[in-house]
Symmetry: C2
Subunit: 342 residues, 2 copies
DNA sequence: GGTCAGGCTGCACTCGATTGCAGTGAGCGG
DNA sequence: CCGCTCACTGCAATCGAGTGCAGCCTGACC
């Protein structure tokens, strides 16, 4: 408990010799026009002098607005999310909002509980970065009119605005790059079939190899159980067993690509001489790997910022149509890709 | 705005046929003894049935408790912090608290503003991970009775509880490891002199080399301007200019060590054959570097969890004496350290 | 049967800010 | 000189929950 009681609106009013109601109006830019300009100035000066800060709870109680939004992410520890969160906060803060972060660990049970927790904290909207493909909870929240924006993953069917990287374009860039280097037998280690990104990237890969007349053997596409190094390693081992002649890999994301590195070490495969790899996400410090990983850079901070802006819009005008945005990404060519040995 | 108005205490009371006051008492475990057990049960059942959630704002308004604590960190994007935050949240959540994260970017101005923002949001306490050595603001908050815990950095002079890794012990482990390998001329690229960690680690390094009768030339210790790769690279270039005979480096943290890798590449130095490096922090994916970085692993999540526990204690009993905790860390030996060429 | 104690419950006010409505006074036109 | 308008300000209720106090009712005891 602070030694000095923080001043209340009543204190300001008393000190300025006006009624609390007048002080309230003077301090709120929206209602300031209702009070005499001179009075308003005086009140504001007094408030400044006393270091007055409106109590957000009292205000929220009356206005039914909390000035907070919920950020639902699988796990903050995943290096993917901090930049997104940062981008979100950077937009939220100047708007007078704060973000409440919860981690779901991709557990639907936990996700449900966490979202309940956020709602009980009266968040005004949700930015959701978890996204299993099938998502009845999202649909329900949507129906209840909770403003929502999804980032990074795109829900199927449900009409929720989302900000996602343009996965298809990214995969095309990766395939183009490898094809240009001369690769013909390119494998894809796709993300879990339960995630929208996993599915979207796999589809994009299939289209890309078809369009470029490369090897379209379905065996070249292996689905990982999870977005992890371990799952990536397992998938690659499987792929190598079936198609040992593959010369390049498009990994579903960077972690899966890292799993490939483990298999390379394990089997004595020389990357990039014998095998090229492209990752997806451009996690930090990939340039320090051996070899530095070629990958697709996603503008994470921009994604977060854009999502926050959209959510604020949705909160302000709940009835506006849902709009979704695809953000362009860029291929960062490093040392893990090279022409195939001929 | 949810289509279905969330039920209020009054709704529960009406549905249960009691006065709101009674309902309030029945729902609050602390006052439940005041109401008839049967009535209490009925009220609770009705509340459950309606899906009643107390409005935290109304409650907070009355009780002057927000159920939130502020997390002040320099930059969430720094891989050091997400695990700490995660550890904090994991403790806070079951206790019914939530964390409000702000990023200061190590800018005192911004830090001040952000802390003001947190206070205006009525946080009940602060977990502070920024820490320039000289910190009048902390002292002021301390005097005002704001419950506070510092993580990772330790304030000088001010009597604030803190949770920090045992930097001195860590540095000793690093120096021991290098000395055991046979190194005699070990350099230290220390963190900024304005940070408590920078200073503590440098002091520990000086003591360690002295105690082990290694080369104590002050020129072997170079201070970096920032905790960054660039600053690390600059410092190493400087060190190599002055003492080209150095065979091992203890870096102030992993980023500084990464800066060393850049210089190695630039000057064609073979690590670890010609030069060993030890980092500090064990950031993610260091094992994927070339060579994998030997470093000191800090139990970040534990630090966060411990800090959160301490803060909750401090909130519950504001008058308890400040207590500080040093957490042990462990040396992770990887490929960046080897015996010197003789 | 009367009295008193004690267990429950309800009343009413409070937290701090917002806001519809009423009232005051000045200024102006008729 | 009267009345009306308009700008401004004050009053009081409100948001939802918590809590001191008073009162009721029941049961026990004399």
């Amino acid at each position: 408990m602070p030694a000095v009681q923080t001043p209340t609106l009543r204190d300001v009013a008393d000190a300025a010799g006006v009624h609390p109601a007048t002080a309230s109006r003077a301090l709120n830019p929206a209602t300031r026009g209702l009070v005499n300009a001179e009075t308003a100035r005086r009140v504001m000066k007094v408030a400044e002098g006393l270091g007055y800060r409106p109590n957000p709870m009292a205000r929220g109680l009356k206005t039914a607005k909390s000035g907070t939004v919920g950020l639902v992410i699988p796990d903050l520890t995943n290096p993917l999310f901090p930049p997104i969160v940062r981008g979100i906060e950077d937009v939220l803060e100047p708007a007078g909002y704060s973000g409440l972060i919860v981690n779901t660990d991709n557990d639907p049970q936990r996700e449900h509980a966490q979202i309940e927790l956020l709602r009980s904290r009266q968040v005004e909207g949700l930015i959701v970065a978890t996204a299993l493909l099938d998502h009845p909870l999202m649909a329900k929240l949507q129906r209840e009119g909770v403003p929502m924006v999804m980032v990074n993953r795109r829900p199927d069917g449900v009409d929720i605005p989302s900000i996602t990287p343009d996965d298809a374009a990214g995969i095309e860039m990766a395939v183009d790059h490898l094809a240009d280097l001369g690769h013909r037998r390119i494998g894809h280690l796709s993300g879990p079939a339960t995630t929208s990104t996993g599915v979207a990237r796999r589809r994009a890969f299939r289209n890309a190899v078809r369009d470029r007349d490369l090897d379209v053997d379905p065996a070249l596409v292996v689905t990982c159980e999870h977005w992890t190094e371990e799952a990536g390693a397992i998938a690659l081992r499987h792929l190598l067993d079936v198609r040992p002649d593959v010369t390049a890999i498009v990994a579903g994301n960077d972690l899966i690509a890292l799993g490939c590195y483990d298999v390379f070490a394990e089997r004595g495969i020389d990357c990039p001489r014998e095998m090229s790899v492209v990752g997806f996400n451009d996690m930090p410090f990939l340039d320090k790997l051996a070899p530095p990983l070629t990958t697709l850079a996603i503008p994470h901070q921009q994604i977060g910022a854009e999502a926050a802006r959209m959510l604020l819009d949705a909160i302000a005008e709940p009835d506006r149509a849902a709009r979704s945005v695809l953000l362009p990404l860029s291929l960062v060519v490093r040392g893990s890709t090279a022409p195939p040995v001929t």
